[in-house]
């Protein structure tokens, strides 16, 4: 089939990044079902724009940028407005691996951050993008990203009773 090389590349991207995208979307949207929707939407867009990807950023940054847009669209839907999204460690999906109390507390603290701070913290510390890549993914200036990262770290430090993220 003529699409085979493209399909193989797409399958590799799904295999390589799906779990990352799903978990990032969950941390962003705070709802498992919506995170699955956003993940599916992300990879549909990835497939459709595979030919247009010119390598101006890494594959990972490109996919996360699409995922952030998918989350943003859901975040602004009428449905999302009425979802109860108060997060406690008990509301997280049952972990498969052994996780300590502080793991759950950290996840809950990240999910309780305001959206603008949450997304930069996730991209910087969970996805380990640098400030330039985050600025590219979110269409922000370097200074905006740095400012939000600083405020996000401060919030997390307060929520985590003194534990703080490395800069």
């Amino acid at each position: 089939m003529s699409h085979a090389p493209c399909d193989q590349r797409f399958e590799r991207l799904v295999e390589q990044y799906q779990e990352d995208v799903l978990r990032t979307c969950f941390l962003y949207l705070r709802d498992k079902t919506l995170a699955e929707d956003a993940t599916q939407e992300t990879f549909l867009k990835v497939y459709r724009s595979l030919d247009a990807f010119r390598g101006e950023s890494s594959e990972k940054t490109w996919i996360l940028k699409i995922a952030m847009h998918a989350c943003y669209d859901i975040n602004h839907s009428g449905w999302f407005r009425f979802m109860n999204r108060h997060v406690t460690p008990e509301t997280l999906p049952e972990p498969c691996a052994a996780s300590a109390e502080e793991d759950l507390a950290l996840a809950a603290a990240v999910m309780e951050l305001p959206r603008k701070l949450r997304e930069v913290i996730l991209l910087r510390y969970y996805q380990q993008l640098n400030v330039s890549e985050i600025a590219c993914a979110l269409h922000l200036s370097h200074s905006s990203v740095s400012g939000r990262l600083r405020r996000g770290r401060e919030r997390l430090k307060k929520a985590l009773e003194g534990r703080e993220l490395d800069e």
């Binding site: 295999e15 079902t33 929707d37 549909l44 602004h76 839907s77 108060h86 950290l106 380990q128």
Partner: protein, 321 residues
């Protein structure tokens, strides 16, 4: 415990916490199949899609494959729309009864969303119960509404003895508060969230009033705030006619006259509010509000009168002639 968290530790910690979220091995295959046109990808519905489906469902009850005429505020037909009853979007009557029972049992002080999940994971039907205050007398209703100038109360009541009055004022506040969660659960296929908003921080955004008179006539009045104007106020049933009229204080007004006495006559009103209404943030929030920027700029009122001697009688309710 280490007081500093590196990016690596952050990542590992969250991965452990979220280890219950696993990749779906069939995702790539489903997307490829869909893009090759082999089959549709299961897609869960967002609320916006759901709202459209709900419109079909509710109108389908009395509109099996009918052609509706969509009109503008001048009463002119702008387009026609067919709203066929679709078997695949309907859920069982037992499920609908269960949904109605659940919503009717929600206490007034709570806000609740309830919805059904279809076999394929899609959302088929949802209901919203807003925090509300109920009234059984016009005096109490009028008094409560006197503090909410964004909602227009009837200026005049129909002549005759009121046999029954049922009214409620519904309230909303910003959707991103840390509302007190009552319950978020699953009952069969019914999923629901129930939570409390602070009534003192809430804004009245709609009311419903039903008046039954001893002569058999019945009036149903509903006012709601909307974010934008509605250019197409209504769909007409077969035989119905619409007439543009003038009602004091309203920018647009239409009188709907039914051809069949079994159906009600109507009055549809719209006005731009002098001051937009913004929702409040709950005081119990300890962080910055997120982007719930709903701003209501219009009031939209529908009045339906059953078994009326003259449809023009509806006009007097809001000071028209």
């Amino acid at each position: 415990m280490n007081d500093r968290i590196s990016a690596q530790e952050f990542r590992q910690s969250l991965d452990r916490a979220l280890s219950g979220l696993q990749a779906d091995p069939g995702l790539a295959g489903r997307i490829l199949a869909r893009e090759r046109g082999e089959k549709k990808v299961k897609k869960k519905l967002t609320f916006l899609v759901l709202a459209a489906a709900l419109l079909v469902l509710t109108t389908a009850a009395f509109a099996v494959s009918q052609i509706y005429r969509v009109i503008n505020w001048r009463g002119e037909i702008t387009r026609t729309a067919e709203l066929p009853q679709s078997a695949e979007t309907l859920i069982s009557s037992a499920d609908l009864d269960s949904l109605a029972d659940f919503i009717s049992g929600i206490p007034d002080a709570e806000t609740a969303f309830a919805w059904y999940e279809a076999e394929d994971g899609g959302i088929q039907r949802s209901e919203l119960h807003k925090t509300q205050v109920q009234f059984s007398s016009m005096e109490a209703f009028d008094q409560a509404l006197s503090g909410a100038s964004q909602l227009t109360a009837p200026a005049w009541l129909p002549e005759g003895e009121i046999a029954e009055c049922a009214a409620k004022i519904c309230m909303e506040c910003k959707a991103f508060g840390q509302y007190a969660l009552i319950q978020s659960s699953l009952s069969g296929r019914l999923r629901y969230n129930r939570f409390l908003i602070d009534e003192a921080s809430a804004v009245a955004t709609s009311y419903e009033l039903t008046l039954a008179l001893t002569d058999g006539s019945l009036f149903s009045i509903r006012s709601e705030l909307r974010e934008s104007a509605s250019p197409e106020p209504l769909m007409l049933r077969d035989g119905e006619t619409a007439k543009k009229i003038a009602v004091p204080g309203m920018d647009d007004a239409l009188l709907i006259i039914a051809a069949d006495p079994a159906y009600p006559d109507g009055l549809i009103l719209q006005r731009r509010l002098p001051e937009p209404v913004r929702l409040k943030q709950l005081p119990l929030n300890d962080h910055l509000p997120e982007a719930d920027d709903r701003c209501y700029a219009y009031e939209y009122v529908t009045v339906w009168g059953y078994h009326l001697e003259e449809p023009e009688g509806l006009l007097r309710l809001f000071g028209g002639e």
